[in-house]
Assembly symmetry: C2
Homo-oligomer: 375 residues x 2
């Protein structure tokens, strides 16, 4: 059965239909085929496909161009596809409802419905956002066809409970390794126990107070967390290597290099805080880094969009804490915000669910803004 | 080529021949076949084979019976078989030279040579000592044919540098787990980081002072060590579970239950020493336990043997720190000591090597004691 998008039909029904097409990361061919078929049937769009990513553009010669983007993949299904509607009709329940099939439904409905937006629009549907960064479909477009992402402002329809969320925290991962000296555990005093040596660093992390950092009027909450630890090779060996992986979520107040300097100060001051056995050493290496993005809400297009959303009665813009692909637009020099249906804290849950009201509100706000006269 | 044991030939040559028959744990059939063939050719021995373990006994009706035991298996070979002799002729170099083919050579030579010992002797050659406890060949004999291990005194030819080492430390392994609460690392304050929660326990281990405990006149040095740590499931998840595995090497002053009580006090006092987040909990479970063995040097047979060894000019008896199978004899109520060629700290090394002098001294001391008139 092929997806059909009827202008004016309830957008939440389109969301359900999209959820019912499984599209776990790496397996987006079917849903991309369906969306492509819809877009190719729309006379006012130029459609390009790159692998399992789609770019559909109006070319009306407007003074401004907006990019509206979202990913079509989901985390693995947990008995939560096909979708269901809650008994009261107020929730769409199923894998991807929050992250981010309901946002995709808003995009796809508007791509079909808005034949003459007052700003040209580039609609982007991409793959593999929920997996390791190098596979990300939006990143692939930015590398291979950056001209397709040219524009004055970008909206990523990631879940924000239909509130504008500006910017995003950056993220660093660093593996911190204590090097000791192996020994038989029956004669442990001949070795240097690297797991024991990790104690001062874990103690620092345990009492670390996350910081709230204000950037462009929004509050970004940071965090430093151990997300993994390994050490030991056998039950009778004092281990010579213990490695903890740290994830630092840092505010847009810092560049990646500044964030690295901050985390390195944390590491070195921790280990200097208590005497270490002679012969113990500490090293670290970065395994992942992604820049933060400033909120960008001072850009003229952003101000206009914020006004349009405020007119729907939505709360004031706030900071996005999770890293999202808005940071890619930031790196391309394009102001970008997150704005989509669903509470991000419900994303990936087995009972993932999105309010129907959010879907309608996002659809209405974007429609109204994209059809209002440009001042 | 079949092993031949010529009475009076240099025992170190027999040791080299034994090293040259690979016998990594689980693969002891070939060496057991060879030793069995030798023993069955000796008229003064009754020989029994149980899997890859051999029990060879004299039955002279002596007033006392001594058990002399050793394992034939080794840890994996690392380009160190066949054996070589050092240029100065003083070292036998190769896998198992220390642990414990040189000891096996002493046993096998004496089993052939001593047709009329003044104490009856039970020679035991067993398999799978270097692997997990349930596979241990001596344990299998003790479970299935305990009457074969009856005796008044036991000598295990584990490496001791030809010095009597009495008793052994016991060993406990316990997995200590901190249970927190998972959360996305972008909103880490909604979780409880179990790795951070391990900090006070590691801090306790880091400053733990090992104790020297005197038992029956020998000093047993204890130790508590983290030998493994795991935690974390993904780079963006605050981990809800972190587990550290502790190895407690405890002196024969304590029973297993007393040792458990000691380690549990260490665990609980560590975590009580610093405030934990509400909702964090700590559990532990034992994964391995083996009793310590008292030195047993007050038994009349042990005193006689110690005198015989002292007559060779060897240093005074000392405590055995590693756990060895002497503990099995302790559990059978048989006093037991370790006495064998080679420095245990050279065991398992890639350049494992045993002094020829140790082999000769052990051979001489055991021969003299087993042929001396019994007072």
């Amino acid at each position: 059965m092929w997806l059909s998008v009827v202008p004016g039909a309830p957008v939440e029904d389109l969301a359900s239909a999209l959820i019912d097409i499984p599209s776990v990361s790496g397996d987006e061919r079917a849903i991309t085929d369906q969306i492509e078929a819809v877009l190719r049937g729309v006379p006012h769009l130029e459609v390009l496909r790159l692998g399992n990513a789609l770019v559909a553009r109006t070319a009306l010669g407007r003074a401004e161009r907006v990019i509206v983007a979202g990913h079509v993949d989901t985390v693995p299904i947990k008995d939560n596809v096909p979708s269901v509607r809650s008994d009261d009709g107020e929730w769409i329940i199923g894998r991807g409802s929050v992250d981010m099939k309901c946002g995709i439904a808003v995009q796809l409905a508007l791509a079909v419905e808005l034949a003459a937006p007052t700003r040209d629009v580039t609609w982007v549907f991409y793959d593999q956002e929920e997996v390791e960064e190098p596979r990300n479909g939006l990143g692939r477009i930015a590398r291979e066809r950056p001209e397709l992402l040219e524009g004055d402002f970008a909206i990523l329809c990631e879940p924000t409970s239909a509130v504008i969320e500006g910017g995003c925290n950056g993220t660093l991962r660093v593996q911190v390794t204590v090097h000791g000296k192996a020994a038989h555990s029956a004669r442990s005093w001949k070795g240097i126990n690297s797991i024991h040596g990790m104690a001062p660093f874990l103690a620092t992390l345990a009492v670390y107070e996350h910081e709230d950092v204000e950037v462009d009027g929004l509050i970004f909450r940071e965090g430093v967390n151990a997300v993994g630890i390994t050490g030991g090779i056998a039950g009778n060996v004092v281990p010579d290597v213990c490695t903890v992986t740290i994830n630092y979520r840092f505010s847009p107040a810092w560049t990646v290099d500044e964030a690295k300097a901050r985390v390195e100060r944390l590491i070195t001051s921790s280990f200097e805080s208590s005497p270490a056995p002679a012969g113990q050493s500490v090293t670290w290496k970065y395994t992942d880094e992604a820049a933060a993005a400033r909120p960008g809400l001072d850009a003229p297009m952003a101000i206009a969009f914020a006004d349009a959303v405020a007119a729907t009665g939505a709360p004031a813009p706030r900071a996005k804490l999770g890293w999202t692909d808005v940071a890619r637009f930031g790196q391309l020099g394009i102001p970008a915000v997150n704005f989509g249906p669903g509470d991000p804290e419900r994303a990936h849950a087995d009972d993932e669910r999105c309010p129907v009201a959010d879907v309608r509100r996002c659809h209405a706000a974007l429609r109204d803004w994209l059809t209002a006269p440009v001042s």
